[in-house]
Symmetry: C2
Subunit: 497 residues, 2 copies
C-alpha cells in the first residue's frame, strides 16, 4: 500500500526566517518519529517543503506502517514547538490539498459513492483512491475507515461473495422418516395456519399455537429453568443508537423493516388524510409520506441488541456473573427474499432469545451446557434428525462479513434439521459465543475490571415447527410419546365450510 | 339541507324531436319517482331542461330525502328507455357542471382539503359546499361520503371536541392505601426497569417481568382456561388492507408507527448506505429515505384487527360458536403524547387480547361472564380499588368519533384503578361488545346465516402493573397473600455499582 499526501500548515505569520530550522526538523523527523514502530526501511517520509506567505507546504509519502495522514499529525507538534519557542509563530491548522492511497489488487473495487472519496481508479494492478479530507477528518480516523472499507471490499470480492463458512461438528443418527410432505402445504390444508395480510406473514390457529407453546415450555423447563435463566422483556422497536453499538448499522439495511413516526400527533395535521380516506376509501400514501418523519430505526431483527441498552454504561457486581436472561415477548421481522418458503422462512417470526455473560471461561462453558441441553431435547424429546455446524458468526454475517471470527472459542453454531420433502437441511436455531463485542459496544464493565464476554442463542418457533412437522407430519400419533405428553390434546380450530 | 345540481346527459344524436316527450317525463318524474319514499312535499325536483346539440341539460334541486345527485341517476333509466325505444337515441353518460350542497350550521367547518370539494363557504347560517364530480363518483357514493364527513365535522364541533362518553357502572370498596409513591419512580430506583433507547419504551428487568408473567398466569387460569379460550398468534405488522376493513383507516393516523420496507434487498443497492456509515459512523437518513418504500401499514395498534384476516371471507360452522380465542404474542405500539407518563402510558406495550364471537346473545353473555371473572381477580386475588364505566366504544374513538354506539348492548366498558400518588384513576383494561362491525368488515358469515357479533377485551400488562404497584408498592409483603403465592419468590435482578 502506498500513501501520498500534499498539504500545508497555516501559520500566524510568514515563517521564511525559520526555513533552515524546518529543514533540519524534517531531516530529523524522517529518521526518527516518522518511522518509529515501523520495520526497518519502512514508514513515512516528508519529501520536501516550501514556505509561501503564511503557509508551510509539505509533501509526504508512506507505506502502511506510518500512514502519511498520521505522519502530518505527528509532525505538527514538534513543528509548533519549534516555531512557537524560537519565532513566536503559531500553527493555525492543517489543510490537505491532495491525498492519494494505492492498494494492490487483481480486480477493480465495485464502484460506489464513498464519503470523502473523490475518485477511484484501477489500472490492472492497483486501485488508486483520491480523498478530499481536512485535519478534523484525519483526527476522526476517516481515512483509516475508508482504507479498511476498501480493503474489506477487495477481500470480499476475492472471497467470492457472501458464502458462509460451514464446518460440521456433530450429526445425529438418521431417525425414521414419517412424512415426506411440505409441512406448510399440510398446515394450510388443515387450516392450522393462514396467510397474514402482509408479506411473509402467517396467522397461527389454535392447533399450531399449542405446538409453539409446547416448544416454549420445553425450552423453559429443560434449558432456562434447568440452567437458572431469568426472564426479561426486551424492546421490539430498535432505534439507530442500538444498531450503532451492536454493529448492525454496518450492514443490516437490505433486510430491515423501517419504522417512521408521525411528524406530530396533532389530529388537525392528519385531518386531511382521514378526510381523503373517508371520501375515497383509499389510503393516501403520497400524503402520508409527507407527514411522517425519517425512519428512527426498525423492527426487531436480531433480538438481543436492544437488551444491552439495559446495561449500557454500567459496571456490574462480579457476583452477578454468569448472568443469564431470556426474552420471548414479541416478534422479529426481516425483509426476506420473495418466493415460496412457507413457514420455513418468514418476514415475521417468533423466537426465544437467550443471553448470558461473564468471564470468557464462564461464557464458553455456558455455551457447552446449553448445547448439552439442546442435544437432550432433540434426541430424547423431539427425536429429530439433526446436526450442528461451525459457521460464520451471526454478528459478522449481519454486518456483511464472511469467514470466522478468527478465535477458536468465538463464533456461531448453527443447528440444522433434515427436511425429507426437499432432501435438504433447515437451519432451525443457533448458539453463539460473541466474545467481548456487546459488552464493549455498549460500554458494560465488570466490577473486577476483568474481561466481559457474552453469548446468545435464538430458538425460532417457526423453525422448530418446520423441523418437527417436516419429519413427522401433522398427525400427533407420529410424534414421540414424550412430546405428545407435553402437547396434550390439540385444541379444536375453526371449522370452515 | 339543500342540494342544487346542473348537468347534462350526453346523447348519441341531438334529441330536439323528443322535446315534448322529455318535458312530459320530467313532469311525471317530479310527481313520482323523484319524491318516492320522501315525506309529503319533500324530495327532488327537476326545475328545467334544455336540449343543445347532443346534450340534454337539466337543473335539479332537492332536500336530503331524494338527493339531487341520486335524482339524476334515477332519471337516467326512464330517459334512456324513452329515447331508445321511440327515437333510437342512446345516452352516453352524465356530466355534472355544478353541484352545491348547503348545510345549516352555527359555525364554519374547519377548512381542510377534501377530495372533490372545490370550495367551502360559511355565511353565518349555512355552510355551502361545491363539489367537482362526475357520474362515476356519484355511483361510487362519493357525494354521500362527503356529506357524511361534513355533517360529522359539524356535529363534532358542536359536541366540543373529542370528549369521551363516561358513565360509572360499578365501583369497588376503597382498599387500604399502602403506597403513595409514583410506581415508575420506584421501579427506576430499584432498577426493575430502565428506559429503552426509543421514545416511550422501557426495558423490563427480571423482577417486574415475573410480575407481568404472574398477571398473565392469572388471566390464563381464571379467565381463559376457565371460559374455554384457545390461544392463537395474531400478526403484529398491520397492512392497510386490515385497517381498511377494521375502520382504523378512518382516523388512526396521528398515533401509529408507520412501517416501510426496503425498495429491494439487493445488497448492491444498499452498499452506499453501509459505506457511508462505516466511514462516518453516522446513519445516512436522507439516503435511506430514498431507498425505502412508502409505508405498507404500521405496527400493531389495536390487537385484534389482524386476527380477522384469518376468518376473512369465510363461512364458519355454527357449532364453532361461541368461538373464543386470545393472543399474547407480541407488542403493541402507539405514538403517545410526550411528557412524563412512566409505565402508565407508553409507546410500546404488552397486552393479552381476548376475542369472542357468536350470536348477539352469545356475545353479550360472554361479555358478562368475562366481567365476572375480572371482578373475581381484582377483588379476590389482587385486592384493588377499582371501578368500571360505560365509555365511548374503542372502535369509535379510534375512528375519531365520540358518543356511544347508540345500541344498549354494543360498546366498551373501561376498567379504572385508583392511583393514590396522583389522587386520580388509570384506565387499565376494557371489555367491549363490538356488534357486527368485525364480521361485517371482514366478510365473515355463520353457517346458518344468522347475525354474527363479536367482542374483545385487552389486558394491558403495564397498566395492571401500574395499578397494583401504585396501590401496594414494590414490597411483596404489601401484596395480597393470594397474589404473593402466584408470584413466588422474586428473581434477583442485575446488581449495578
Amino acid at each position: 500500500m502506498y500513501f501520498h499526501l500534499v498539504g500545508y500548515f497555516n501559520t500566524s505569520a510568514p515563517a521564511n526566517q525559520a526555513d533552515a530550522d524546518i529543514a533540519a526538523l524534517i531531516g530529523e523527523a524522517n529518521e526518527t518519529f516518522l518511522t518509529k514502530g515501523a520495520p526497518a526501511g519502512k514508514g513515512a517520509k516528508i519529501l520536501n517543503f516550501r514556505i509561501e506567505d503564511q503557509k508551510i507546504h509539505i509533501e509526504i509519502e508512506s507505506d502502511r506502517y506510518v500512514r502519511a495522514h498520521d505522519a502530518i499529525l505527528r509532525f505538527k507538534k514538534p513543528l509548533a514547538a519549534l516555531l512557537g519557542k524560537k519565532y513566536r509563530i503559531g500553527i493555525r491548522g492543517i489543510e490537505i490539498e491532495s491525498f492519494v492511497v494505492k492498494f494492490p489488487s487483481n480486480d477493480p473495487v465495485k464502484s460506489t459513492k464513498i464519503p470523502y472519496v473523490s475518485n477511484i481508479e484501477f489500472d490492472g494492478q492497483e486501485i488508486t483512491v483520491e480523498m478530499e479530507i481536512n485535519e478534523s477528518q484525519i483526527q476522526n480516523r476517516i481515512p483509516d475507515r475508508i482504507i479498511t472499507l476498501i480493503e474489506d471490499k477487495i477481500a470480499m470480492q476475492g472471497y467470492g461473495g457472501k458464502e458462509e463458512h460451514w464446518n460440521l461438528l456433530w450429526e445425529s443418527e438418521q431417525k425414521q422418516v414419517l412424512c415426506t410432505e411440505d409441512p406448510t402445504a399440510e398446515l394450510l390444508k388443515e387450516s392450522w395456519i393462514k396467510h397474514g395480510a402482509a408479506r411473509g406473514q402467517w396467522i397461527y390457529g389454535p392447533e399450531i399455537t399449542r405446538l409453539f407453546r409446547a416448544f416454549e415450555s420445553i425450552v423453559v423447563k429443560e434449558v432456562l429453568e434447568f440452567l437458572g435463566y431469568r426472564e426479561m422483556i426486551f424492546p421490539k422497536l430498535v432505534p439507530w443508537s442500538v444498531w450503532e453499538r451492536s454493529g448492525h448499522a454496518k450492514g443490516v439495511y437490505p433486510e430491515i423493516y423501517y419504522v417512521c413516526p408521525p411528524k406530530t400527533r396533532d389530529p388537525d395535521f392528519w385531518e386531511e388524510v382521514s378526510d381523503y380516506y373517508k371520501v375515497t376509501h383509499e389510503v393516501p400514501l403520497d400524503l402520508i409520506e409527507q407527514k411522517i418523519d425519517k425512519p428512527i430505526g426498525g423492527l426487531c431483527y436480531a433480538q438481543c441488541p436492544p437488551f444491552w441498552h439495559f446495561l449500557q454504561g454500567t459496571t456490574i457486581a462480579d457476583d452477578t456473573f454468569p448472568a443469564r436472561v431470556f426474552d420471548r415477548s414479541g416478534t422479529s421481522h426481516r425483509y426476506e427474499s420473495g418466493g415460496i418458503h412457507g413457514i420455513e422462512r418468514v418476514d415475521e417470526f417468533h423466537r426465544i432469545e437467550i443471553v448470558w455473560m461473564g468471564t470468557p471461561e464462564q461464557v464458553v462453558e455456558e455455551s457447552e451446557r446449553i448445547q448439552e441441553r439442546y442435544k437432550y431435547i432433540f434426541e430424547e424429546i423431539l427425536e429429530l434428525t439433526w446436526r450442528k455446524a461451525w459457521v460464520t458468526p451471526w454478528f459478522m454475517a449481519q454486518e456483511g462479513l464472511t469467514g470466522t471470527a478468527g478465535r477458536k472459542s468465538v463464533g456461531t453454531i448453527d443447528y440444522e434439521s433434515f427436511m425429507p420433502y426437499r432432501d435438504g437441511w433447515l437451519e432451525f436455531q443457533n448458539v453463539s459465543v460473541n466474545g467481548d463485542k456487546y459488552p464493549t459496544g455498549f460500554g458494560v464493565k465488570s466490577q473486577s475490571g476483568s474481561e466481559l464476554w457474552s453469548g446468545c442463542s435464538g430458538v425460532g418457533l417457526e423453525r422448530w415447527a418446520s423441523a418437527l412437522l417436516a419429519q413427522k407430519g401433522l398427525d400427533p400419533d407420529n410424534w414421540s410419546p414424550a412430546f405428545r405428553r407435553i402437547v396434550g390434546e390439540l385444541p379444536r380450530g375453526f371449522k370452515f365450510l
